[in-house]
């Protein structure tokens, strides 16, 4: 798992992606405005959507309430 560690905490990559999707955005938009490569965003989104931390909204994605709670928790 690239986004959620074995102990349930978020990885560095997950924190970056969750932070980037505070409001609904497309992966392409995030890749164009951050240093995160598009392929990494796509891979992370798959995992974060499955974990319920990101949700799809139209053509874009945004962080969920659970995602915000996880992001607010102390980093590992």
């Amino acid at each position: 798992m690239a986004c959620i560690s074995a102990d349930g905490t978020l990885t560095v990559q997950a924190r970056l992606v969750l932070t980037a999707f505070q409001s609904p955005r497309t992966p392409e938009d995030v890749a164009a405005t951050t240093d995160i490569a598009l392929f990494r965003i796509r891979g992370s989104l798959r995992e974060l959507v499955t974990a319920g931390l990101i949700e799809q909204v139209g053509d874009g994605y945004r962080i969920t309430v659970a995602g915000r709670q996880q992001l607010a928790a102390p980093a590992a």
Binding site: M1, A2, Q13, E28, A37, L38, F39, R42, G43, R46
Partner: protein
Amino acid sequence: MTTEAITTPSLPRLGSPAPSFEAETTFGPLRLEDFKGSWLILFSHPADFTPVCTTEFLAFAAIAPELKKRKVELLGLSIDSTYSHIAWVRNIEEKFKVKIPFPIIADLNKEVATAFGMIMPGESKTETSRCVFVIDDKGIVRAMVYYPLTTGRNMDELLRLVDALQTADRHGVATPANWRPGDKVIMPAPKTAEDAAARMQAKGVECTDWYFCKKAL
């Protein structure tokens, strides 16, 4: 006696879609489709913590910024574990002060290596050879390069190859032997006698004969 069907995986073909995959990498699970919209150089190396491979990783890391300018991502692969890959890239960073900026597939079950024909049993049944697949932004295999275990790859040639492919796409031309960016390119041969005659009269075109014409871009 039972007979078991021996299935030979169909190998990638130039101009055909690259075999899709999902694999564990040093950047987490990735699929081929995650790279859609970018070009991709998928390359294999025989094993972590080996000297030729280490020189190649240093060289791939060195050309990564140039590839990025051309919208090309890098993705390595070997039949080693993620932990081995992580230990090796950390060792490279410690000993050579170079950060490896691309993911590496941990292909322990050889699924991706088999799908791409990266294992050459005549050389080794347990290691991947030095294969390079240039896959375009639509997921089509555009070039394949195979080097043996003993011989490290030439990064200048890989950059040249990418430049040539992208130039061909952008301008509908071909590139001659030893072409470099800035050199004249080959115009597609005319398909009719009238076009052949017209080509010889065309301005800004250097024709040795009707089928052999070059132009500057």
